[in-house]
Every structure is written in C-alpha cells, then in structure tokens.
C-alpha cells in the first residue's frame, strides 16, 4: 500500500470519536423526540409527532419560546453594540488598553453558575442594588429577565471584544490615512471603513452571541431558576423542569425544538452577514 493510502486509515480513531460523541447524540436527540421514552417504562416506542402535538396544546412552550427569543435577540444586540464601542476605544495597543482588555476578559474565565450566584447577591432583595435603588430586580417580573441578560453580557463580552479588536487591527492603516488626508472625520472612518472591513468579525460575533443567548441555561438557573412566576423561564429551564417528571421523550422533543429554532434563525443570519462581508 502506498504511503498516502495509510494516511486515510489513520483518521479512523478520530472519525469513531466524532461519530460516537458528536454525531450520535445529535442523531439520538432527533430519534428520541418521536418516542415515548420514559423512566416508567422499559420499552421505547415510536409515537410519531404526539410529543409535539401535546407540547403545542399545552401552550406553555410558546411563552417560553418567546422569552428565549427575546433573551437571544437582546443579548445579540446589546453585547455586540457594547463590544464594538469598547473595541474602538481599546483598539490601540498601549498599557491602559491591555489592562482594560484583561479586565473585560476576566469574567469569561468565571464559571457561569458562579457568576449567576454572585449577581444574585447583588440584585436580590438584600443586595446592594436593592439597598441603593430600592428595587428588587430578581423579584420583579418586569426586570428579572433584563437582570439575567445583563449578567450574560458581562460574563461573555470579553470573547467578542477580543475578536473585534483583532478585526480592527487587521484594517490597513494606509486606508485610514488616505481617508484622513481626504478629510474624513473619525465617525466617517468608523462607519465607512472600519465597520465594513471587520465583516468576518461581525459575522462571527453576531452568530455566536445569538446562539449563546438562545442556549442560555446556567446563569438563569443560578439567578432566578426561571422565576419570578416563570417570567425568565427559557427553554432550557423548561427542559430541566420537565426532565424531572421522568417523561424523557416528551422533554427531548423540547430540546429538538430548541435546536431547530437556533438552526432556523442562525443559518439565514450567517448567510446574510457573509454576503455583506467586504473582501480586501
């Protein structure tokens, strides 16, 4: 056998790994959603779309789906706006900029549950926010979701910030110089040169932040457990609650819905953003 033929066989272990731990769980997620898999039974039977019919009839999932979409959308918009502004401010490499980048990146290293519990202390009824502003954010059905979104942004913004800074640093300096010579002001340079040229960073950050927002679980679990009165109950919390009832097939159907929602939203957004990217 020729040398190049051996190379093909060398990927067998890796392929096995990918299939068993990446592909198979996803395939099973599709399959189990159409079964009556339950802790009460020994057999698993196909029930068609029965789980989905029951879910839609119950109606609770629509409310949770809306909350999840609201969460994902707000996270995506706010985290990217904040990151863009910060990236433009910290674009230059100097000591202050380096320190600030580190400061913004530190929360990324904290476990989401820990972050949730820390902010639960800040925002709760006996926390500092309640003491100063006399408002219990986590006890308010109106503000609790925003409080969890704030923590999500605080926790994950460091990654996107570095991506934007890297993108901005790759914009050719001479282009900006030309623009300045032509009389463009800073706002015009940002709007007409920098933003269009960091297209790939925008695509990456927008897609990633939206998917992260739609998949949120741990920060919400730590801060509100879906409360008060289910006002922050995102789909993953709904899954957790229903999983404990032992109806595993029914619950898996919810996770399939979440997967499809992310897929349906994320793919067109990525395609749209990719088309708008400017090639240098």
């Amino acid at each position: 056998m020729k040398e190049r033929d051996y190379k093909g066989f060398l990927i067998i272990p890796a392929l096995l790994f990918v299939f068993t731990f990446y592909l198979l769980p996803n395939i099973l997620n599709f399959i189990y959603a159409f079964t009556d898999w339950s802790v009460f039974k020994t057999e698993i039977n196909f029930v068609g779309i029965q789980n989905f019919i029951e879910l839609s009839q119950r109606g609770e999932i629509w409310k949770d789906l809306l909350i999840t979409l609201e969460y994902g959308l707000l996270v995506m918009i706010l985290i990217n706006l904040t990151n863009l502004v910060l990236a433009l401010a910290l674009e230059r490499t100097c000591l202050f900029s380096r320190i600030m980048r580190t400061v913004f990146f530190i929360p990324v290293l904290i476990a989401p549950l820990a972050a949730g519990y820390i902010f639960k202390g800040f925002f709760g009824s006996s926390g500092i926010v309640a003491d100063i502003f006399n408002i219990n954010l986590l006890g308010s059905m109106r503000y609790a979701l925003f409080a969890t979104i704030f923590v999500h942004i605080w926790k994950f913004m460091g990654v996107g910030l570095l991506v934007y800074i890297a993108g901005l640093n790759s914009v050719p300096e001479d282009l900006i110089e030309y623009a300045r010579i032509e009389g463009a002001n800073e706002f015009q340079i940002i709007k007409n040169i920098k933003i269009p040229l960091i297209g790939p960073s925008l695509t990456f950050n927008i897609a990633l932040s939206m998917i992260g927002g739609l998949k949120v679980f741990d920060t919400v679990l730590a801060m509100t457990q879906g409360g008060p009165a289910r006002s922050t109950e995102v789909l993953n919390i709904f899954i957790l609650q229903n999983f404990a009832t032992g109806r595993l097939g029914y619950t898996t159907a919810v996770s399939l819905i979440l997967f499809l929602v992310i897929f349906i939203i994320a793919i067109p957004v990525i395609i749209f953003l990719r088309k708008r990217e400017v090639e240098l």
Binding site: R4, D5, G8, F9, I11, I12, L15, L16, F19, T20, L24, D36, W37, S38, V39, F40, K41, T42, E54, R58, E60, G124, S125, S126, N136, L138, G139, S140, M141, A144, T224, Q225, G226, G227, P228, A229, R230, S231, E233, L240, Q241, N242, F243, A244, T245, G246, R247, L248, Y250
Partner: protein
C-alpha cells in the same frame, strides 16, 4: 484513494453501529434473564399456597450464592443526605473486607438518577426517595430486590415501612427518623404580639388566618414566603392536603381517574396559598426570597412564621451556637386541625438494593443492609441524634431541645404522610405552577388543570387502568 476512503467511512459507520448494538445487547442481557424468570413465574400455578412453598426453595438457592467473589459495593447517594453512610461503609468493609464506594450523584439528584436508570445503570445500593410514586418511578417490582424477608422488616417501628413498600412488598429501609413538615415560629415575635404558645396554637387554616391577622395588627410580618426557591411554595399546599389524602381515598381516586386535580378538595389548598399572599400576610419580596432568607428572617425575628420542612430548624441549629429552642418553636398545622406531616426522603438514609443481575453482588448488598440495620445502626443513631426507627435501639440522651419539642408534637397530634406519596403518576413542575399562582398569572383552578394534564399523560405512560 477515493475508493479506500469510501471503504473506510463505511467501515467506521459499521463498527460504530455494531459497537452500539453490542452495548445494548450486553445491557439487555439481565432483562432477558428477568423476562425468562417472569415467564416461568407466569407459567407456575398462581395459588398463594404454592407460591409460599416456592419461597424456601428460593432461599436455599440464595444461600448457595457466596459473597467471596465480591470485592466492592457501589452506593448511589444523594449529596444532601446524612454523611453517616460513610460510617456504615467503613464498618462493613472492616467486617467483611468488601469495599463500599459511596458515589455522590450530582444535583438535580432525582432526574440524574432517573436518567441513569433509564440507561439501565444500577448501583448495588440506592439511596432513593420513598412513597408509592417514587417506587413506581424506578419500577420497583422489576428493578429492586424484595427485602420483605429481612430482619429489619419486623423490627421497624410504627407504620414507617409503608413509605418503602409497594403492593405488600418491602423494598427498602430507613435509618433516620422522618422529617416533620409544619410551621416554625419565632417565640420572641409571638411574645411581642401577645400570643402565648402552646395555648394559642392555631387550629386549622382558619386558626392560622386569625393568628396572622393578630400578628399583622401588631406590626409583624406574619409569614415569610420564599418563592425565589419555588419548591418552598409547596409547603402550604402540603399542609392543607394532608388531612384529605390521609383520611379519604382521594389518592386512589386520582390513580384510577375517578377524580382530577381540579377537585375542590385539592384546589382549596392552592386557593389558601394564594389567599395568604393576597391578604398581605407575607413579605413583599416573596417572589425572590429564598430558603436561606427564610432561615435568616425567622431567626432574626423579621418574620413570625415559616411553613417549612424540618431542614429549616436543622439549618438554623447548624448556623447558631447552642440551644435555639429559646427562639425557635414548631407546631403542626393542617386544613382543619393540627396533623403532622411526616416526610420520608433520601435524607432518612433510605437504602434500596437494586437487582444487578449478579447474585453475589445482590447478596452482598443485602448483607450491607443487614449490617446497617443491626450492628452498625447504633453508631448512626448516636451520630445523627435521631430517634431509632427499629426496635432494640436507643436514641441519644442529649437531643437538641428544639428537636425534642418538635418531635414531642407527635405525641399530642395525629400524623400522616405527605399528599404526593399517595399518587402514582407525576404531576408536572408544581413549584413553577405555584410561583405563577402567587404572582397572579395562574388561578388555583388553572394550577389543578395543568397538573391534571401532566398526571394523565404520565398515567398513560405508566399504563394505569382508567386512563
């Protein structure tokens, strides 16, 4: 090269599928054995006398099995349950040379265990909840060893074994006394409001309302609600449902679809929870306050009462120095009287012996339970400070006074099990429904209706008659 790659991919796919298939087969093997046993049992004459004759033969067969080959027993344990299990593990290892590994199952404990159960994973000893519904969840008859012939069964006091029994068979044992569910109160706050206990102990819900009005008029927060930890909202409904579930056949009616969760006898409990919140008898931040807040506010005298499980008293005791009974008291409460609710859970160091398919391991598991309920038991009592659950043992002489007072109410008032231990199917995420109830986004009837939908779906899955 292309040809090789295609062959390679097909090979990888086939091996993976084969691997999964083999895994399933290996796991299915014990089930197949059980199926054979079940078939044999079905073929055998059904008369009780003949079944009784078969029992000694089975015992003889069991005696032939030896523990010699057993090196290790695995225990699945709830992280919140008492740590005295380690004491038993060490004692058993010293006695038999068999290592006992206590594996702490991460939270959420019930769903993690059930997921493993669904994947046919079994430990040798399982620390699991009690009650008919919880035994159905693990399909007790099929997956757990019947321990009815063990010594501890006859020695168990009161009617405690009901909690680990199903259809007349005992599947588990408990080592620590049941937890009480009732109302914990701050004695100093009551005194400030001119309430003299135990003479003024409220009788039933009406009595509680009167008491709360008196406390509110005196400028106190009558009750501290911890809706941020939604499970705490279940306590008032538990108290208000104890009488009807223990004194009537409503549990069986639910299990056989003769009544529903929208039954007025059930809905009243949710209405009462709502009423307490609507009348301003609880703290303003009830939607975000937590179980820990409940402990702090009660201890500090910021609230007069907290309806809670015994864990509240234990937590306060653990965080304070010395006797807490000067400040904290307890009284039972139910819909029309003062029935105590006994809660049996994993915290009682419950132990079940799953069928693992290995006779030697199963025998060793029974030996471990035997050790824990005989020579190893007194040390558990001494360490936990619990009253004995079995005859022939003594509780500690220096029990904390708050416990003496709380458990003393068992002598003065009747007691019963929590309502949910009478119901077989699951009833959905009740804490979430109750948080909507107190926030005003669901009515009491809607809570009942939502539970009923989950109840029916679950009953159909279990295959209960009438659904």
């Amino acid at each position: 090269m292309k040809k090789y790659l295609i062959i390679l991919l097909v090979l990888v796919f086939s091996i993976s599928i084969l691997g999964i298939g083999v895994g399933c087969k290996e796991e299915a093997a014990p089930e197949e054995e059980e199926a054979v046993e079940e078939t044999a049992e079905e073929e055998a004459p059904a008369e009780e006398e003949e079944e009784a004759e078969e029992a000694p033969a089975e015992e003889e067969a069991a005696e032939e099995v030896s523990m010699e080959s057993v090196e290790k027993l695995t225990v699945w344990y709830n992280p919140d349950a008492p740590k005295e299990i380690n004491m038993l593990a060490d004692g058993f290892q010293e006695k038999t040379g068999i290592e006992v590994e206590v594996v702490t199952i991460p939270a959420p404990f019930p769903s993690t265990v059930l997921t493993k159960w669904a994947a046919d994973e079994r430990p040798d000893i399982l620390n699991w909840h009690t009650g008919v519904n919880r035994l159905y969840e693990v399909r007790a008859e099929e997956t757990l060893q019947d321990l009815s012939d063990m010594e501890f069964v006859d020695k168990t006091l009161n009617n405690y074994l009901d909690a680990t029994s199903l259809d007349g068979k005992c599947y588990g044992t408990m080592l620590v006394e049941p937890v009480l569910i009732g109302v914990w109160y701050n004695k100093e706050v009551f005194e400030r409001a001119g309430i003299n206990m135990p003479a003024d102990t409220p009788v039933g819900y009406d009595g509680l309302l009167e008491l709360m009005k008196k406390l509110k008029d005196a400028g106190e927060v009558p009750m501290y609600s911890g809706g941020g930890d939604t499970w705490t909202l279940q306590i008032i409904p538990i108290l208000m449902l104890t009488e009807v579930f223990n004194n009537t056949d409503i549990g069986n009616e639910l299990n056989t679809n003769q009544t529903t969760y929208t039954d007025e006898r059930i809905v009243q409990a949710f209405e009462k929870l709502k009423e307490i919140h609507d009348m301003g008898y609880v703290n303003d931040d009830f939607l975000s306050a937590t179980f820990v807040d409940q402990q702090e506010k009660l201890w500090n005298g910021d609230a007069a009462m907290v309806p809670q499980v015994g864990a509240l008293g234990n937590a306060i005791f653990a965080n304070q120095e010395g006797d807490i009974s000067d400040v904290i008291g307890y009284f039972p409460l139910s819909e029309t009287g003062n029935m105590n609710v006994l809660s049996f859970s994993t915290g009682n160091i419950t132990m079940y012996a799953p069928k693992t398919g290995d006779p030697a391991q199963e025998l060793a598991a029974r030996e471990f339970i035997k050790y824990a309920t005989s020579e190893g038991y007194q040390a558990v009592l001494d360490s936990t400070g619990s009253q004995p659950m079995l005859e022939g043992f003594t509780g500690p002489a220096d029990r904390p006074q708050y416990k003496v007072e709380a458990y003393g109410t068992l002598d003065d008032y009747p007691s019963g099990q929590g309502w949910n231990s009478f119901v077989i199917p699951s009833y959905g995420p009740l804490p979430a429904y109750l948080s909507e109830l107190v926030a005003g986004t669901k009515t009491a009837e809607e809570v009942g209706a939502a539970m009923q939908l989950d109840h029916e779906a679950s009953a159909k899955e279990i295959g209960l008659e009438g659904f």
